[in-house]
């Protein structure tokens, strides 16, 4: 079985995220890391491998599209236990929107199919920066695969998959047969930390770097200029004006709170 896990290198959410002058996300000066939400995807990929009757026969490939530093995201996935990495890096990709990102990911997955097919494409529930949560569905559409997305529980037996999904109005069980696209939420199980052994082993694991021409994708089809949407303006939210803070003493807090709510006509 071949598993490809799509991981994204994102600006650290606890640092100050900001925009460049061309309204693209600043991915250079803001420190980055493997998206926390994609760690769950790596974890589930590794669990699929470990639960397989013959784990050695399963290859987990971590795939990312991003600037040079994005190789860090792949390295982290390798340290956690992925077998190999593929980093698509090309100046033309900068500023790509979700349709273009999914196009390049799909092309990379097609290329990986050359080594004996791809059975499962695993994604996180969303990027912590763009947070559209649409790339997995777009990938499924482009690869013409079923999607079993936003899984909080993943079960599989051979090529049969079942997931639990907390939908908008119902909790659902979704089933499909591989090959498929799977996305997992942060409810699917804590992601492991790389062990010392994992960190050492990762140094010897293959990490390929591909450009758009390796994938047969034309540079004019991706990047900021080819985006199907355009950001007209970005504006930092004005800081909230400091509110009133009271310390509760013998019930004074509750009275003041209710006074405040009444003054705002909530009561």
């Amino acid at each position: 079985m071949n598993i490809v896990v799509c991981v994204k290198y994102v600006p650290d959410a606890t640092a100050d995220q900001k925009f460049e002058s061309d309204n693209t996300v600043d991915r250079v000066t803001v420190p980055g890391l493997l998206s926390e939400l994609d760690e769950y995807a790596v974890e589930q990929s590794l669990q699929l491998k470990e639960k397989n009757a013959d784990p050695e026969s399963v290859t987990v490939t971590a795939l990312t599209i991003g600037p040079d530093q994005a190789a860090d995201a792949i390295r982290k996935a390798l340290q956690m236990g992925a077998d190999k990495g593929v980093h698509v890096v090309d100046d033309a990709v900068a500023g790509s929107d979700a349709p273009a990102t999914s196009k390049v990911l799909a092309a990379a997955i097609e290329k990986l199919k050359g080594d004996g097919g791809v059975d499962v494409v695993v994604c996180g529930l969303g990027s912590t920066d763009g947070a559209m949560s649409v790339v997995p569905a777009m990938l499924a559409e482009r690869l013409d695969l079923p999607q079993i997305t936003l899984a909080s529980v993943v079960e599989s037996q051979g090529d049969q998959f079942r997931i639990k999904r907390d939908g908008d109005t119902a909790t659902e069980v979704i089933g499909a047969t591989a090959p498929l696209v799977l996305s997992v939420t942060d409810q699917s199980g804590e992601a492991r930390y790389p062990s010392f052994k994992g960190i050492m082993a990762a140094k010897k694991k293959p990490l390929d770097t591909w450009s758009l021409s390796d994938l047969g994708v034309d540079a004019s089809e991706v990047g900021l200029d080819a985006a199907w949407t355009a950001v007209e303006s970005t504006e930092a939210r004005p800081p909230r004006t400091a509110g009133e803070i009271v310390t509760d003493e013998d019930g004074s807090g509750a009275t003041a709170l209710v006074e405040f709510l009444a003054s705002k006509k909530f009561i």
């Binding site: 569905a137 939908g167 659902e172 970005t234 709510l261 909530f266």
Partner: protein, 317 residues
């Protein structure tokens, strides 16, 4: 005027409030056409409901053949209606399912997609709130038919009678769209409280409740509010995940948000920072949530909330 397609969000034929908001937005952009994908026996009632909010046309698609499958068939239905109607925009509710339908549809129609709009004006120009609500972004679709998913509460639904002309549409669904099967579905238990994403007031509890949500729930009920929770409260098993507010839960933008026993981590803020008025009760005066509040009480929620509940109830008489 061009048609604006609105995908009707409903549970078993009962149209949900965000659909009325989408119809209100659609009226700004063109002529609203509702697309109802559901049981044929529920279509009339749904058509009546959307007509009240300005739907000039209602495409009715019987879902007998597709309701057992996830997302993909609905994207095919919309693709086929769009091919016929040539709409100026397609509006879909920003939930898990809505965004995924939109994602597949964008690829099919080779059209730009904007998700999680909190406002849509003529153009269409959308407003989104990004980076945990720290930035406001205005954007436009530049290719194909604009596909926009809109968050609940983006507009106040305005009643306005439309013609509501029903057009039965029979879509052709491919076999490959029927590969992800809904094996079982358990509707969410009704709480008797407003829907979290639609509520005007939300009262949330965190780790500080210590697992006792009664003060939070009673206070919510005194205000007619929905109840939410932090991830710490969800991870502790005190509330199901459907209650979680934040980056990996729901995003809410109510008139009033009350955080009780919640520290205000960035991931929690991402889900509530755009609320109009924010109130917190926390026993630690250093808690970061106090940076956001319009009004804060430093105190124990187990005494402050019950006393406040009693006071609200008394005032409401």
């Amino acid at each position: 005027m061009s048609e604006i397609l609105v995908l009707v969000d409903h549970v078993d034929g009962a149209v949900r409030k965000p659909t009325f908001e989408l119809l209100t937005i659609a009226k700004r952009l063109g002529e609203p056409s509702a697309v109802f994908i559901g049981g044929a026996d529920k279509a009339d009632a749904a058509a009546e409901a959307v007509k009240k909010y300005g739907a000039e046309k209602v495409y009715v698609v019987d879902d007998t053949e597709i309701k057992g499958y996830l997302v993909a068939p609905k994207a095919e239905v919309l693709q086929q209606i769009a091919a016929q109607a040539n709409p100026a925009a397609i509006l879909i509710t920003s939930g898990a399912e809505g965004k995924e339908i939109a994602g597949r549809l964008a690829i099919k129609l080779e059209s730009g997609l904007i998700t999680d709009a909190v406002d849509v004006q003529e153009g269409p120009v959308t407003t989104q709130s990004v980076f945990a609500g720290n930035f406001t972004v205005k954007a436009k679709v530049t290719k194909g038919t604009p596909i926009i998913t809109v968050k609940p509460n983006a507009a106040a639904p305005e009643e306005s009678a439309g013609a509501g002309a029903v057009e039965k549409f029979s879509a052709t669904i491919s076999d490959s769209a029927k590969k992800a099967q809904i094996v079982a579905s358990q509707p969410r238990e009704a709480t008797g409280r407003p829907e979290l994403t639609e509520a005007a007031i939300v009262v949330s509890g965190g780790r500080g409740t210590g697992g006792n949500f009664e003060p939070v729930e009673n206070f919510a009920d005194s205000l007619g509010a929905a109840v939410g929770a932090s991830r710490a409260a969800v991870d502790s098993g005190w509330k199901p995940h459907a209650f979680q507010i934040g980056q990996t839960g729901k995003t809410v933008s109510p008139q009033l948000y009350v955080a009780a026993g919640i520290s205000g981590a960035i991931q929690h803020r991402a889900g509530m920072q755009t609320s109009k008025t924010i109130v917190a009760v926390n026993k630690d005066e250093e808690a970061p949530i106090f940076e956001l509040v319009d009004f804060g009480v430093v105190g124990d929620l187990h005494t402050v909330l019950p006393a406040a509940t009693a006071e609200v109830t008394k005032r409401k008489g």
